[in-house]
């Protein structure tokens, strides 16, 4: 019974078929796919969220704005667009770790986090992190001491979340670019904490390090 249901043309052929059918009806504007793909691959990036966090760490006024109206704070950097219309920043403390998930699909704040990573979209993460949060984080490498509470945020509506980590000791005197370099995608989702030992010398796009 399961066999026939799962037998289909390969997904690559089905995706191309959908595109071809729309194109031959002239429904795909010139350059649309290329432009949208550039947005997804380049413009929406966790470096954006990292810059927001670094600014909040050095500028108390900006921090207040970020916590009060994340959308406006992100818009100051130009981080706007789909899946970023209502951004809420979640403030970590030494005794509170915020963690983001979308159990029903895979909603994510694209403009500041980038597209959701594979693991965030996995059934494993979606099913388990709301129930076995501490075990899941430990398995992924964040072994929180018992005095740290975990608060999981399920992205079930239109709010898009980003985690505002607390600034770790050992980063005194760092400039915004260097601070941003320790705020990874995983930190912004809440499954990691910034590691001062990983601090690079500047901002911008980094390679395979995260």
């Amino acid at each position: 019974m399961s066999g026939p249901i799962l037998e289909q043309a390969p997904v690559a052929d089905r995706a191309r078929a959908l595109e071809a059918a729309l194109r031959r009806r002239h429904l795909v504007p010139e350059g649309f796919v290329e432009d949208f793909t550039r947005l997804m691959e380049q413009d929406w990036a966790p470096e954006n969220g990292a810059r927001v966090v670094a600014r909040a760490w050095v500028d108390p006024g900006y921090r207040d704005l970020l916590l009060k109206d994340g959308t406006s704070a992100c818009a100051q950097f130009g981080y706007v667009g789909p899946q970023g219309e209502y951004i809420v920043a979640l403030e970590n403390t030494p005794t509170l770790q915020n963690v983001i998930v979308c159990t029903l699909c895979s909603c994510t704040a694209w403009p500041v986090l980038g597209l959701p990573p594979d693991w965030y979209k996995s059934f494993e993460y979606r099913a388990r992190v709301v129930r076995e949060s501490r075990s899941v984080l430990r398995e992924m490498g964040l072994d929180l001491p018992p005095e740290v509470d975990i608060r999981v945020w399920d992205t079930t509506a239109e709010t898009r979340y980003m985690v505002l980590p607390f600034r770790p000791a050992g980063t005194e005197g760092w400039d915004e670019a260097k601070l941003a370099s320790i705020v990874t995608k995983d930190v912004l989702i809440g499954i990691a904490r910034p590691d001062p030992a990983a601090g690079g010398t500047g901002g911008g796009l980094r390679g395979g390090g995260y």
Partner: protein, 210 residues
């Protein structure tokens, strides 16, 4: 609907395939067709306005459960998007299968959805609320694990959005704010809970004063 997409708290899944901060997130796409999934989705939802994103979510929920479980993420987006283009009369199923050179499985038929409730006074931060014990046959953004549970309002959004149980079926949808409702972990999962709390973003119509 209580579909298999409603994964929050479902047990039996293994480890999340990711170690915090250990994996490169670029390239963003791993297969040469994956960028088409979101591109053609947003073409239909944003540019052509043939359907909305709630309908897309529901189309994916309407995939046969075996197909849902066997398909990678972007495959589900392709299947859901194609289903809507066909249901809206933009494309035909036969042409998609002809172009794909094989079977192209689409979503199961949808029902009518349901309208939002009558307007009621809004809730305030700090209010205790109870999630309505509703059994919704169609699209809903209330995950099953909070049905009938009591929680506390942390935030009311400053923006209102279409009620998804209606919008997901392409019918006119009243605008409502959503609420960040905090549930004690132990109220959701008993003594096995590992998070201090889970915050779920819920449309006003899902809630009653406790």
């Amino acid at each position: 609907m209580d579909g298999i997409h409603d994964l929050g708290g479902v047990q039996g899944f293994g480890k999340v395939a990711h170690k915090a901060n250990s994996v490169a997130y670029r390239p963003v796409f791993h297969e040469p067709w994956e960028h088409l999934a979101y591109s053609l989705l947003f073409l239909g939802a944003d540019t052509l306005k043939v359907f909305n994103v709630d309908e897309l979510r529901h189309a994916i929920e309407r995939l046969d459960p075996r197909q849902y479980f066997a398909s990678p993420y972007y495959d589900r987006i392709v299947a859901g998007t194609a289903s809507l283009y066909v249901e809206k009369g933009v494309l035909s199923h036969a042409e998609l299968e002809a172009l794909a050179g094989g079977r192209f499985a689409l979503a199961r038929p949808q029902g009518l959805g349901r309208p939002a409730r009558e307007t009621r006074p809004p809730f305030e931060v700090g209010d205790r609320v109870r999630v309505a014990g509703a059994f919704v046959p169609g699209h809903t953004r209330m995950p099953g694990y909070v049905r009938g549970k009591h929680g506390t309002i942390l935030h009311r959004t400053g923006v209102k959005w279409p009620f998804p149980d209606a919008a997901g079926h392409g019918r006119p949808a009243a605008l409502e704010p959503t609420y960040h409702v905090e549930f004690k972990g132990s109220d959701l999962w008993g003594e096995t809970a590992e998070a201090a709390s889970v915050v779920v973003d819920l449309w006003e119509g899902y809630l009653d004063k406790a």
